[in-house]
Symmetry: C2
Subunit: 320 residues, 2 copies
């Protein structure tokens, strides 16, 4: 469709995330023949819209280069409330190769509510907001999924209706575990706005060898809840829930719910029995509505791969 | 302390919930002797403050008569949005035998928020609010725990601080599963206000023999979430989560979140394999923040016995 009779290769290159062995394996099963060399028509180079991308920070671990899409190390995530510049990338208001603009909407009550704290951000950490974060303007909708925090903002429409964009109507939604692409009805699920409560262990990481000091190990992580709810407790267990320990909430913003937008950073020093050679850490948070996380992903799994807020579990080796 | 050197018996009688074998067994271990009959002093009858109680509806199953404290049958709970009169009892603003008034508080933002919908109710279902519901005035705080919906309201104080009452400070709070009466610090937990998402199966009941009709059984129940969040889905499983079915949401109020205060009534017709003689139904709800319920009570258990929003599970026998 995009190629309209021409080569699809420029489009493959443009969205490089699909240029991988797994996709080529799938395509191979669909091959119906090979073009004779004399039939190949040269197509104009669509150019590289990412040519002027800035140089990114070296701490980023790119999952994809074009468009740039990277993760930060979990340990760094726990260091500070201040988001370092140039460290994330989401899809935005720029045109994709089908000339479609990214678009999303939020309920009007959230936009006009004095306590909604929705802002149009032109600065971040005291300097103009960097291109990767939506320069010159990004809408920031605290407590709401990032997909609704549109970057490179070009237009605001006040309407009684939701955005009709693909991302609003057919993408960021949650479904029952037994729903898949064959039986899904996207109109049956509301678009994700406020998110459920979540927590993560950032230190140690999965598989890490951790030094036991005087019978204890040190942990760090974060927790957060949507809708401005405050994290009131983070519980940790090393014995599959037989004993729960309470983390220290080290850094938390001072706003009260339901305007508590920031992450809570937690830490804990937990006792481990001297005979243990490895241990699995489980982590769950509780928010100011006393909502907590589901234990396992199986019962909240959904084919869109979103809303994965089951307990974070990290298995580590002990050096003692 | 209450008896102040006199017989404690009138006070036992007054709060009859303690007059049961279990309490007497505990007291028996504390017995230090028996009074000689000549030492017994007659005390004035404190009277029966419940003497003028109204006659209650016959569908109620009383757990206690003085004060009256009853449950309604789960099937009736699903019948209608209209709360029948004279069907609940909570502690209220009346004095207890220690001359202490019941008291509770809510955050100021909830009380003054246009979307908070807090009302002082003097009518219910079109008639003066019945005594059991707080005549002449009860504060109704939608989305918030019933313990903060004070009955027989005598006074409203506007303050920056929470109520200092026992029920606000040391009673309706949630704690980690490893906290008990020996290590609890009540100041470490916020008072329960908005409640987490919950659901229940009302029909069939635990242990019921259910007729299978053409391979299907019929279920009914309710779901609800605090803070005005809407129920967006109720998932049901008959095979411990291997397959999830989606209930029909039959009755739901028309308000949008976060002003969606009413219960959602659901029903479902689920297929059962012909060889099954019994089955366990699990039920979980998802609200408009996409928060859902924890799977098991073990990991959310807390010594105050509150916030028990794990999956509702009902084991039934099949007649097929």
């Amino acid at each position: 469709m995009i190629a309209a009779g021409s080569s699809v290769e420029p489009f493959w290159v443009l969205y490089g995330i699909h240029v991988n062995d797994h996709v080529f394996e799938v395509l191979e099963t669909l091959r119906i023949g090979n073009l004779s060399k004399s039939d190949i028509v040269n197509v104009a180079d669509v150019g590289d819209p990412y040519a002027k991308d800035p140089i990114r920070h070296s701490a980023l671990k790119p999952a994809n280069m074009k468009p740039f899409n990277a993760e930060i190390s979990p340990a760094l995530l726990c260091e500070s409330f201040i988001t370092p510049k140039n460290r994330f990338q989401f899809e935005g208001l720029d045109l994709d190769v089908t000339a479609t603009q990214y678009a999303a909407s939020i309920p009007i009550w959230k936009a006009v509510d004095r306590r909604g704290d929705v802002i149009l951000a032109y600065e971040m950490n005291g300097v103009p907001i960097p291109p990767d974060h939506g320069y010159p303007i990004r809408v920031v909708v605290p407590g709401v999924a990032g997909a609704r925090n549109v970057k490179w903002l070009g237009k605001i429409v006040v309407s009684e209706k939701e955005s009709t964009s693909h991302w609003q109507q057919n993408d960021y939604k949650g479904f029952s575990p037994s729903i898949d692409y064959d039986n899904v009805d996207f109109s049956k699920a509301p678009s994700i706005q406020e998110l459920p409560v979540i927590s993560a262990i950032c230190k140690p990481l999965e598989g890490e060898v951790v030094k036991v000091e005087n019978g204890y190990i040190n942990l760090k992580g974060y927790a957060w809840s949507g809708g401005g709810q405050q994290i009131i407790r983070v519980d940790l267990t090393l014995d599959e829930g037989k004993t729960w320990h309470i983390a220290s909430l080290d850094a938390q913003d001072t706003a009260l719910p339901p305007q508590h937008w920031a992450w809570t950073l937690w830490s804990a020093k937990l006792p481990v029995a001297p005979e243990f050679k490895e241990v699995e850490i489980w982590c769950k948070a509780v928010d100011s509505c006393y909502n907590t996380q589901p234990e396992r992903f199986e019962n909240i799994w959904n084919f869109r791969g979103v809303l994965s807020n089951a307990y974070h579990r990290v298995k580590i080796k002990l050096n003692q």
